[in-house]
Each structure stands twice: as C-alpha cells, then as structure tokens.
Symmetry: C2
Subunit: 456 residues, 2 copies
Amino acid sequence: MSQKKRMVVIGGVAAGMSAASRAKRRNPDLEVIVLEKTEFISYGSCGLPYYISGLIDDHNKLVIIPPKVAREKRGIDVRLQHEAVEINTTEKTVRAVNRHNGQEVFFPYDKLVVATGAGASRPPIEGMGLKHVFVLRTLNDGVALKSYLKSGKPKRAVIVGGGYIGLEMAEAFSAQGLQVTILEKLPSILGTTDEEITTIVEAELERNQVALYKNANIVAFEGNASGEVTSVLMEDGHRFETDLILVATGIKPHVQFAEAAGIQLGPTGAIAVNEKQETNVPDVYAAGDCAEALHLVTGKPAYIPLGPTANKQGRVAGENAAGGFGIFKGIVGTSVFKTFDLEVARTGLTATEAEREGFSFVTSTITDKCCAGYYPGASPITIKLVMNQENGRLLGAQMVGNHGVSKRIDVFATALFKKMTVEEISQLDLSYAPPFAPVWDPILIAANIGLKALKK
Amino acid sequence: MSQKKRMVVIGGVAAGMSAASRAKRRNPDLEVIVLEKTEFISYGSCGLPYYISGLIDDHNKLVIIPPKVAREKRGIDVRLQHEAVEINTTEKTVRAVNRHNGQEVFFPYDKLVVATGAGASRPPIEGMGLKHVFVLRTLNDGVALKSYLKSGKPKRAVIVGGGYIGLEMAEAFSAQGLQVTILEKLPSILGTTDEEITTIVEAELERNQVALYKNANIVAFEGNASGEVTSVLMEDGHRFETDLILVATGIKPHVQFAEAAGIQLGPTGAIAVNEKQETNVPDVYAAGDCAEALHLVTGKPAYIPLGPTANKQGRVAGENAAGGFGIFKGIVGTSVFKTFDLEVARTGLTATEAEREGFSFVTSTITDKCCAGYYPGASPITIKLVMNQENGRLLGAQMVGNHGVSKRIDVFATALFKKMTVEEISQLDLSYAPPFAPVWDPILIAANIGLKALKK
C-alpha cells in the first residue's frame, strides 16, 4: 500500500476551509492539514459590520465551522496560530511558525493550497500606529473595535475611505450612536459604481447625518500624550476631531511568500491561476482573496476578492488537489452591499470600466418602482445599464433602491454569464405579483429603454 | 394622401391598452379605438386581493391609465361600456353593443387586436346565483365583494379553490377578520407546485387558522329565504356554514366570438398566435389572457394567462399592427404569489408537468437560508429543481420562503430562457452580502445538490 498522501492548506478562512472540506469529502484517505495564523477559522468576515452595529451580539456567531467540528466531524487537521512563512516548492515543504511557542515547524506536502487571503491596506499616513486607529478585516480586528466601542464610549468616528466597507461601517457606527465623518480621497465615493448610482448613495448618507468629504487629502492622524488618536489633519489645514478612526481603503492580496517561492503573480498582483485553480508550480493551487479570477466579460484576469468567489475557488482547488475534477469558470463582477436603507448592487462593468477596457458602449438609466405602484411601500429603484454598441450585449448593470435590489441584480449577472443581448433581456419571463414587482419589472423597463439607446 | 388607417382593439385592460398605447407611439397618425365592455380600463386586477384586505384603500388606485389620460395624453379613442359581440373578418368590422343605451355600433377596422381577456370560471354548482357568492376577476367583482364586506359585516368566508387567487384571498379575508375555509376539489392545493413546496404552503395556512379541506366535493351552495348564501353542502353530507363564498376555480379565455369569426384556437383552447401575435386571419392580432403563448421549455403553445405576458404580447401586437416589427419570444411559466408570510414561486415545469410532457428527468430539493445564517431574521428557503436527465438542463424550479423568493426565481427563469444546464447555474456569480444571501446562495446550493442527483 502506498503511503498516505498529504494536502497542506495555508489559510483557514473561506477558500482554505472550502478546499480542505471538499478534499476530505472527495478523498477521505487524504491527510489534510490547515495552517491558520490566527485562532479563528472559517468565519464570515462580511458579518463584522453587523457585529459592530450590535445586530449580532456575539462574534462567535460569525464562526461557521468551529475548529472542533472541522477536526472531529470533517477530519481536518487544523493548526491554529500556525503562520506559514516559506514555501519550498522543490522539497515540497511549508515552513511555519507556531505562534504559541515561537517554534518553527516544517510541513511536507504532496498537494498545497495557498489560501492566504488578503490584508487591509494600510496607507502610509503619519499616526497610523496611534491607539484607536482601526482596520476591519479579520475577526480579531472586529473584536478589537467592538471592545473599544464598549469600553471607550467614543462619540465620533472618522472613516477613511468611501468604499463599501466604509459605507457599511457608517451605518454600523451610526447605529451605535456615533457621529460619523467619511473622508474620501477621490472626487467620488464608491469606485465600483457610476455617478448616477453614487449620487443616490451620497444622498442616503446625508439623510442619515453622515458627513462626507470628497477630494479629502489627509496629512496625518494626530494623537494626545497617551498615544490616543484625537484628530485628522487635512492638507488644507482643517482638523476633524475624533475618538476613533477606521481605515477602510481596500485590501491587498497576501502573496509575499508565495511570490518568493516562485509562484507566479498575474497582472493584477494576485496569484495567477487557471480554471482548475492550479498555479504555475506543479501541485500548488491557489484560491480566494490571494488569487485572481477570470472575468467573463473582459476575458481577462481580475482581482475582485469576495466571499462567494473564495468559496467556489476553494472548493475547486480542494476537488482537484484530492484527485477529482473541478472547474471554476470565472466571475462577472457581481456585488451588493447595504448602507442604511439602501441596497446597492452591481455586476459586469461600469461605464468607467468599459471605457478603460476599450469597449464601444452606450448607457441608459431608468428609475421605476420595486413593486406595483399602488402597493404600500413601493419605493424607487434605479438601474443603469452599460451595453456593447457593436453587438447589443449587456456589459454591466448597476442598481440602487430600498428593496428588491440584491437578487434582481442576479438576473443581470446570469445574463452576463450567458453573454445575453439587451434584446434578449427585454424578453425575459420574470416573476410578477404586486408585493414584489410591477407588471413591467424594472429589469424589463431598463432593457426596453436600453434598446432605444442602442438604436440611436 | 391616403385615408387615415384605423386599428380597433377589443378589450381595454392589460393587453388591449398596451397594444393601443404602443400602436399610437409607433404611428401617431393611426386612429386607435378601444372597445371596453366595463367602465374601467387599464387596471391592475392582481391588486384586487390587497384592495379587499384593506392594504389599498381605494379601488381607483388600481387604475393605471384613467380613460381621460388615455384619450387626452395618448390619443386613444376609448369607448367604455362598449361590448364587442361579433367580428366580421371579411368586411373587417366589429359589431358592438353600447351598454348605456343598448344600441348596436359597427366599427370598421384596418387592423384588429383581440384582447378580450379571460373570465372567472363558474362551475355548474347549484346555488352559484345566490347572493354573496362572488368571483374575483374584474374591478367590478372587487368593488362588489368589498362593498359586501363593509355593509354585510360577514364573519365567515368559504373559498372554493386552492389556487393562488384562493390563497391570496385567504390572507385578505383573514386580514379583514374573517374565519376562512378553503375547499379544494383535488387531493392537493396549488396545481402549480409539487408536493415538497405545497406542504410548506399548507402549513402556513394552518399556522394562520385557515381551515383547509382537500378532496372536497361540493354538492350545492344553500341559501335562506332572502336568497343569501348560508352554507355549502358537501357530498359526505357535511355542511360548512358561511356568510360568503368566493369561487376561485380558475379562468377561461374569452374566445367565443373570435372563434365564431373563424379565428383559430390552439390546443389549449385559447387563440393561436405566432411570435408576431398574428392570428390565422389577416390583419387580426390577439394578445393577453385570450391568447396562447409559446412555452420555451416544452416548445409548445401554453395557456398561462398572467399580467406580464399580457403586457408584452399587447405591446408586440400594437407594434406590428401599427406597421412596426415586434417579436414575443415566449414564456417559461414564471409566477409568484404571496400568502400570509410566504412567498411562493415557480418557473418552467414542475415534476408533474415534466412527467406529462414525457421528459426523462430527476429532481432535487434543498432547504437553506435566505441570508447569512448569523444575520437576524434569516429564514428558510426551499428550492426544488426539475432537471433533464439526458442533457443536464434545468427544466423547472419551485421556491418557497418568507423572504427573497420572488426575484431569486428570476435567476432560474433567465436560466430557462437561455436553456442553461444545472452545471452552468452552479457557476453563477451571484450577489452576496449578509443581509441578502448566504455566501453560497440557495440557488447555488440547489444547483450543486441537483448536480449530484443528475450524476446518480
């Protein structure tokens, strides 16, 4: 009999645990070791804003598979507080540091899955190291921030960055009674949507007493003698007094030691993978927020790190590493978030992105109702379409409204996956009942108006 | 200059007014006459249950385009209380009766759109003519029923028929404080969903104190000396005492005088049309609840009369009648309704229907959550898939849950329109955020489990 094969997974959150679970299901004889540098695995980091807001009372509720369950029910050898620091792809070993005792441990592997994820970007602002300057990426980040909210009773929060985490957290801080200021470096918040959608989101922030400053150039975070942050100094000399700062300026893939080991990065700076989640190095797979994904609209690799992609990629990596056959076809750039009473969603390309990609395109924007106009609570929904002028295909859709946005965007996501024309979308047989949609669903209205724009 | 052309439309609700409006937009020189036998046009009959329940306080709110607006803003010559009674396709005239004065009027046409809709089916039960026995189809039906609820203060209602109208009305009557009994002739309510879904709906009725009797054979409706209904006599001798009866046993297309004029009916008994909404008679179009539609899953004509189809078909009929070019590709059998706290949706074929159509198929059913499990209010959602065993394509999907059903079904509707395989569906890049979906959307879970069933 052959010796038992071993798969090592670096990283125990979404992609890593998906890979480990799938591999064990595919091949129960495979030894599966997961190296996780923190003390938590498999948690829903997307739930952190709702833990901060108080909607979820215990951070442990965000843990999907506790280590005990992973070990006992799934047979996965989870090593917490084990930080991988080096991969030797010739000898096929991973060097890790046990953070409990500082010891080095070597893990030989037959198959390796790199699921190192991404880290919060930390811009080189003076004062980043002051107390009460937070990022929000890991469960530990969330616990630290929540702990300060409870103990420090802050009254004011400054959020640096007007992306979706910034806006989810604006709601969360407001729910906790804080006065919120968002500082956005660019002329517009939400790099992920075009102006027609963004302005509606900005109005929602204003309606909820969130102060928003765009083109905001920060010089430094300033602190007191105890090293606690007290204000943000701007380039124009203005100071924002604050009791805490959340830096939410995006994330960067953890690729340092993968790159050092000769694992190739793609044009986005994340790890390049094929549709089997294989890297350029034999027996080494990558998945999740450290990896790229094929964008099915542009046909190019993209870096859009989100939970569903991480889970799907991890599953495929685990399937293949365990000797099965799995394919991850790619993404179309779908996402949604909630801020206050708004749902904001997008899929495919914005006009800005279509421009950058060199498409010849037209756009159209409509506002209609989420449900029958006579139904109580019918609220507006705005849809912007970006369409390929040459072949009439949808390139992207953006949507904002109080209700009925998040799953409606998925119709456009499905259309993008199948490269549908706007004419085809206008023919869709969509569900209708007064509480859920007008008889002409906003999707169909958007497609009909889009068709007119295409014919001009 | 040539004489002004005239289009006559029979029926002024969804399909008829869509046809008229579209034709006028396409060709403002066209004379467009709409013959409507009641005093209302263009109303949302699907909103009637919400008018009865009290959610909508005034039946006039259900009117989408008042006659004055149709005439003055859209240039449509609306003739209320004009009941068309005969079409002469040789002389190209419609004979109508003016119900105000009983006079006959003849309307010559160049183009004719038959949009006569459908009527509530009235089963031949003894006592159908008693007072307080209602059907609910037209705005007048709704006004009559609401009026009795206000004046008669009924305490008990019997609903005959457990279809979606029956279930919407069970909620509406309950909201008005009535004790509700549903009598269903068949062994199961909801002919439109399979048992896995139907049983969940039945539990919701029970939870809301609605009494449901299946295999219920009615002998007669019985009345008092004033001719008011008082009870329902069953075959087994049981009597249900009641203050009102709603007969909701389906609808039948109004095709009598169209058929008499030589307009061909299809296999379903509704008017046969091609994708331009043309009938077999030159210059005569049909659209809406009186017409068939091509079912894109079976490839055969179907009779599934619903508002969105009526509006789309009407638009295409009007476009073509006015000299433009429009195509209605067909339907996939999508529908949704709400009863109490449940959303119930379907698209494509149920297992029963797939069986009847002779498909070789497998099914799978899953229950998951509508949103992230840790998010407050996360509620179960059940999805049944029906899949073609030969090619792995989706044949149909059914879904039930408290939230997030209605637009989620549209992803499957889009998949059916594009003849997607279940494997393709499992790859979709769907929107995710904790308030709106789990990281593995129930759609993806359903597809993954479906794939396993297909591989067995």
